[in-house]
């Protein structure tokens, strides 16, 4: 009886096995990179809003402090989105007839809320708290990016858990003095740009290295240990 399979079938079988394995690996790689891609995280993605509010103009151009609009950032988990009244504090005086501001005027006139789309959106099982981060010396820019250079708001960071843990495991890499938390132009200390800090006991310090500054601030602000900061219930409950 002749053989059913020719000799070349062996090679074909090996090739098929290797190929299937390779395909599975490629598919896995695609899924994996997709998971961390900006497509999934929505990083740097523009979002349609009821009107094209420019942080670059208001923050970078006019120099308005973050807290003028985001009033509860130091008091609450939620930073707060300004009520229409806050917009109209200025815009009842300037640009009163600008067509772009019609939705704002309509909101106040008709007592109808503006509806924005959230840009920095964490999953619902994460309980982020602005108050404690601002208090412990995490700058707005550290997570939100240079909003003073964003004509339209985009999500600056991937907002994945690994990204959060990067700081929660070693806060010293990112902490800055409390008085620089809301600063847009703060620069991390380098040999050329030292950062001066006055300790709570009045001693002045100068730092030329972020890690040294971070270690100092961690002690100064009694930032809890990474053991605590990586406990699940700190963020999830």
């Amino acid at each position: 009886m002749s053989q059913i399979f020719s000799r070349s079938a062996n090679a074909l079988a090996r090739f098929t096995l290797a190929g299937a394995l390779g395909l599975a690996l490629i598919a896995g790689g695609v899924v994996y990179s997709l998971m961390y891609s900006s497509w999934a995280t929505k990083q740097n993605e523009f979002v349609e809003q009821p009107l094209q509010f420019s942080h670059a103009h208001h923050v970078g151009g006019e120099g308005i402090d973050c807290r003028y609009c985001h009033t509860s950032v130091e008091k609450s988990a939620f930073a707060g989105i300004p009520p229409t009244k806050t917009c109209m504090n200025c815009h009842s005086q300037i640009w009163t007839n600008a067509p772009i501001l019609e939705p704002v005027r309509a909101s106040l006139r008709d007592n109808k809320n503006l509806t924005w789309t959230r840009v920095n959106d964490l999953p619902d099982f994460v309980y982020f708290n602005h108050k404690i981060h601002v208090r412990q010396g995490v700058g707005c820019v550290t997570c939100h990016g240079q909003v003073d250079r964003m004509p339209l708001m985009v999500q600056a960071a991937p907002l994945l858990m690994g990204w959060c843990l990067d700081c929660h495991r070693a806060p010293e890499k990112y902490l800055r003095p409390r008085d620089a938390v809301f600063a847009m132009d703060y620069q991390v200390p380098t040999e050329d740009h030292p950062v001066a800090v006055t300790a709570s006991n009045g001693t002045p310090h100068t730092f030329r290295n972020q890690l040294e500054l971070g270690q100092f601030l961690k002690a100064e602000y009694s930032v809890t240990s990474p053991g605590h900061l990586t406990s699940c219930s700190v963020c999830h409950r």
Binding site: V31, L34, W39, A40, K42, V47, T71, S72, K75, S76, A77, F78, G80, I81, P82, P83, T84, K85, S107, L108, N111, K112, N113, L114, T115, W116, T117, R118, D121, P123, D124, F125, Y127, N129, K131, I132, R135, Q136, S222, T224, S225, G227, H228, S231, C232, S233, V234, H236, R237
Partner: protein, 1017 residues
């Protein structure tokens, strides 16, 4: 299994005499099997006809699809800022407002938590004398009623939608016709009322219509048998060494129960072994929460209590009383009288609300003779202003309705078509009234037979006022605008009085403005908390609204003037217990403890909350004693309660069917029938649940009567009870000692249970550095812990429902409860002690997660979804959980709950605003459990850090701790040597549940210390 068999089993129990249920005691093979399957009625073996292959296919497909669905991008989320932000509001932080919940005319003072305009959780008002920070089950659950999607939403006339102006126009027409006759055809039927503003409206109405009449009907709070006592008794249990409760459940029913529990348990929470305890005697036909806390309890027919009270009065030396008893009751009379006399001026006799006026008169005479009056009890005029005897009032109204004398009837809040006594045909009489208006939260049975239905505003939506049990005027302010076009009763009465164009707030504020000027019928003493006068009415109003009450109106305050009480109703002669009666079966009526007369039927939280002692959910049952059951051939032991006997009860020629429940502690020859179930028109939750037994309740005997007949129908009925869920299988869960024993040797508590292993000897230990410890952390900052005082706990279950409200715990329904899948993170286990026919004591044990130091659940989780935190919490991470349930299998306390199905309601929009925004709403396939209210811990920790300090002791209160009227639960930092929880754990009563397993629980218990009287031993 007969009673004697069970008794012989009891004798065989080693080292302890208490048991959880008759089933556990009987210990049949059937029961063993039931317990040993972890989730009793779950599909333990695969009997599905679809077959194993099909199952695997479906599982594979589900897995693949679940994986695909995880790849979706996060949907966009809207951010909606205010147009003009309200003052004081910080987005993301709750605000608290003082208000009060009226229940049976009496107010329960509250602080309502408001998230961005949505009330989500209610706490007690800590400054109010009726609450002192605690609340009860009903007020905790009332926030769910606010959002109930089945509340009526529109004004309706004969089924057609109408507007408020349509209604007022029609009302003016109907009222106008009454003007000429002085309101001869105008009648108002309400619940019991104490609200000064509403009473003022009723007074105005009586002035405008002198012939109009006001009637009252409430099947629970306004119903008396044998006359109303006429006076109100205010007790000071904190001053009483000896308490005798005559068929009274003062710890768990009525408007004063929260304060009374606080006062009572303040005498049970002993700090040192030397401290004296109070002593409680209870005489009652059915085991109540109060009876369960008694040091001595005598089960007695309700009808015999009058004779017993008379005998006790005679023995205590009250002139003009006589009576004697033989046997056990005779012994009790002597012992009680001796103890009362030995504690004259420091004792109190309490008569129950269901007992006739004569018993109240006897109790008052005893308190007077013993010199207790003015010390442990004050008698004063009732706080409720409506007619006291609801049955007589309703009967009068029906007579007039039948005679055609009633032209216009306004029914406010009450539902007489469903709840009226069986011999009063309210529905037929109602049809004879030409114009009928119903104001109520629901379009209920009564609304169906009325021409007009006005949706009532929930108390969280309306302005108003109410008096607490001690008379304290408490203001009600709205937390939210009416969700469903609701109108308050004050508004409706104002419309009848023709005062339109005024808002309810203006009416209430107007009344108190006049009261401040002394222009109201009742003269009020309006002083601030320190007794000073307010400079002007505006200051007064703002302060009263902020505090939620007017302190100077409390009759419990030091130096308060207590209005003189009306004379006691003359004691009627004691009904002779005839020989024929003695052998007859007595029927005792009780409202369901949570559903009441059916008004809360559509509240899923209340339906699913296990009832005290029987732990029945979603049903009403008839209690009979084990001896009575044996006599009828009813099985004492029923594993799984799948097939309870359905009884037919015949009483006064009327019949009703209800499942039986063999309840230890019930008096022999008594059947206790719980009414309130069997609503036809309650809503999606409550319609068709349970059995309607109002057909048995007559106007002559609304609370008890003799001559009932029981028949077994031969049918079975499934009752979902949690009593046998998560049983502890013969270990030593509760530790009980007598006060004298404990005083002699405080170490006795530690010796009761098995020996606790050394810390290193744990199965669940880990290595940290050089040494072996049970945890990976050293707890440098906080170390949270809890102590539960079994001596203070009354078993009221308020902690369970507070936990439900705080932690977004879903309702699962009767079928799922029957499969042991209830989701409550905290359960209250009940144990009986002694003989099954007449248990000598009952113990309650709240069991939350123990947050073990060496937690058995942690090492078995394959995905690290349950891990230790550095503050000692046993964290549960929902978004990591894949649902293996290994943790639950390995938990010796059985405190973990699994979402077998999608129990949380993700779709009903009305229910969404109720949820606590600080707690995740769990989905299907996820394990969950008590977190020590970690959201509250986090919030307090962040606040303390921004203020550069540590979290203060008492700053974090868990929901169960905050609600507890007995202060039995204490939570705090174990690293703080001055904290209350550390002080409690230092007591020698402290022990850990199943601590011999080496789990080192952080939640520990303080042993129960009883104070029995040797003379009754």
């Amino acid at each position: 299994m007969t009673l004697s068999d069970i008794r012989s089993r009891l004798d065989g129990l080693e080292g302890r005499t208490y048991w959880r249920s008759l089933e556990e005691l009987a210990d049949t093979a059937e029961f063993r099997d039931y317990v040993q399957r972890e989730f009793p009625a779950q599909a333990g073996e695969f009997t599905d006809p679809a077959g194993r292959r099909q199952f695997l296919k479906l599982m594979g497909a589900s897995l693949a699809l679940a994986g695909v669905s995880a790849c979706t991008r996060q949907p966009p989320e809207a951010l909606v800022p205010y147009v003009r932000q309200p003052e004081e509001l910080i987005p993301g932080r709750p605000l608290f407002f003082a208000t009060a919940m009226p229940q049976g005319g009496v107010g329960m003072p509250l602080l309502a938590e408001n998230h961005m305009g949505r009330p989500t959780k209610l706490e007690g008002n800590p400054e109010h004398p009726a609450s002192l920070g605690a609340t009860d089950v009903l007020s905790q659950a009332s926030v769910l009623t606010l959002y109930d999607p089945d509340r009526s939403r529109t004004i309706a006339s004969l089924g057609e939608i109408r507007t408020w102006s349509n209604f007022t126009a029609a009302l003016q027409l109907a009222v106008g016709a009454q003007r000429t006759s002085g309101g001869a055809g105008l009648r108002i039927l309400t619940e019991p009322i104490s609200s000064p503003s509403l009473l003022d409206q009723i007074d105005t109405l009586k002035t405008n219509f002198p012939q109009a009449k006001w009637h009252q009907w409430d099947a629970v709070y306004g119903t008396v048998q044998g006359g109303a006592p006429g006076s109100l008794a205010l007790y000071r249990f904190d001053r009483a060494d000896v308490v005798v409760a005559l068929d009274s459940d003062f710890l768990n029913s009525g408007g004063g129960s929260v304060r009374y529990s606080k006062d009572f348990s303040s005498r049970r929470r002993i700090g040192t072994p030397q401290q004296e305890l109070n002593r409680l005697y209870a005489v009652e036909p059915v085991l109540s929460v109060t009876g369960a806390n008694a040091d001595h309890r005598l089960a007695m027919k309700a009808g015999e209590i009058h004779a017993f009270a008379s005998g006790l009065a005679a023995a205590a030396g009250v002139p003009g009383t006589s009576g004697a008893a033989s046997g056990e009751a005779g012994k009790w009379l002597r012992v009680l009288a001796d103890d009362l006399k030995a504690h004259a001026g420091r004792s109190v006799v309490v008569a129950g609300d269901t007992q006739p006026a004569a018993v109240h008169a006897l109790a008052r005479a005893m308190n007077s003779a013993l010199g207790n009056e003015g010390k442990t009890v004050h008698y004063t005029a009732p706080v409720i202003a409506s007619p006291a005897d609801g049955v007589a009032s309703l009967a009068d109204l029906v007579t007039e309705m039948n005679a055609g004398a009633v032209q216009l009837l306004l029914i406010v809040g009450t539902n007489p078509v469903f709840t009226a006594p069986a011999d009063i045909d309210f529905r037929a009489a109602l049809e004879k009234v030409p114009t009928r208006i119903h104001v109520g939260l629901y379009h209920d049975e009564t609304a169906e037979h009325c021409h007009w239905h006005i949706p009532e505003a929930h108390y969280l939506e309306s302005w108003g006022d109410v008096r607490a049990f001690d008379g304290t005027v408490s203001l009600i302010q709205p937390l939210i605008a009416p969700l469903y076009d609701g109108h308050s009763p004050i508004e409706v009465l104002a419309a009848i009085n023709g005062t339109t164009g005024q808002s309810t707030m203006e009416i209430v504020k107007g009344y108190w403005t006049r009261a401040f000027g002394g222009q109201t019928k009742t003269t009020w003493t309006l002083r601030d908390a320190s007794g000073g006068a307010y400079p002007n009415v505006d200051t007064f109003w703002r302060h009263a609204l902020h505090d939620g009450f007017i302190a100077s109106t409390s009759m419990l305050a030091d130096g308060a003037t207590i209005p003189a009480a009306p004379a006691a109703v003359a004691a009627t002669s004691v009904p002779a217990v005839r020989g024929a009666d003695a052998g007859q079966l007595e029927v005792v009526f009780r409202p369901d403890p949570y559903i009441l007369d059916g008004r809360n039927a559509n509240n899923g939280w209340l339906q699913e909350l296990p009832k005290p002692l029987s732990k029945v959910t979603w049903d009403n049952v008839a209690y009979i004693s084990p001896a009575t059951a044996s006599g009828m051939g009813i099985a004492l032991s029923r594993a799984g309660n799948a097939d309870q006997d359905l009884l037919e009860i015949e009483y006064q020629g009327r019949k009703a069917r209800i499942p039986v429940w063999v309840m230890p502690g019930t008096a022999d020859g008594v059947v206790v029938v719980h009414f309130g179930y069997g609503r036809k028109n309650a809503g999606r939750v409550g319609s068709g649940v349970g059995h309607d037994v109002f057909g048995l309740r007559s106007s002559a005997t609304p609370w008890f009567g003799s001559g009932a007949k029981l028949t077994r129908t031969g049918e079975g009925y499934f009752v979902a009870s949690t009593q046998n869920h998560f049983v502890m299988e013969g270990r030593h869960p509760v530790r009980v000692v007598d006060a004298e024993e404990y005083r002699a040797d405080p170490k006795v508590v530690a010796e009761i249970g098995p020996e606790r292993p050394a810390d290193e000897e744990s199965l669940y230990r880990r290595e940290r550095g050089d040494h072996v410890t049970p945890t990976p952390f050293e707890y440098l900052s906080y170390r949270w812990g809890m102590a539960i005082d079994l001596n203070a706990c009354t078993g009221c279950s308020a902690c369970v429902i507070a936990c439900v409200a705080e932690n977004n715990i879903p309702v699962v329904g009767k079928t799922q409860v029957g499969r042991s899948r209830e989701m409550h993170w905290l359960r209250v286990d009940t144990y009986f002690d002694g003989d099954p026919a007449a248990p000598s004591a009952t113990y309650h044990q709240p069991v939350p997660c123990m947050q073990c130091e060496a937690a058995p659940c942690e090492p078995v989780c394959p995905v690290a979804a349950t891990v230790h935190s550095d503050e000692g919490l046993n964290d549960m991470v929902y978004n990591r959980c894949v649902g293996t349930r290994y943790c639950s299998n390995n938990c010796p306390y059985k405190v973990r709950r699994f979402n077998f199905m999608l129990y949380a309601d993700f779709t009903t929009p009305e229910l969404m605003p109720q949820r606590n925004p600080d707690v995740t709403i769990r989905s299907r396939g996820v394990m969950e459990k008590c977190t020590y209210c970690v959201q509250r811990i986090n919030s307090a920790r962040i606040d303390s850090k921004t203020e550069n300090r540590r979290v203060r002791d008492g700053e974090v209160q868990t929901a169960c701790e905050q609600v507890c009227p007995a202060d039995a639960i204490v939570f705090g930092d174990l690293n703080d040597p001055a904290s209350r929880v550390v002080k409690l754990k230092e007591q020698q009563r402290n022990y850990g549940l199943l601590e011999d397993l080496g789990t080192r629980p952080r939640t520990t218990y303080l042993a129960k210390v009883r104070n029995p009287n040797k003379a009754l031993a």
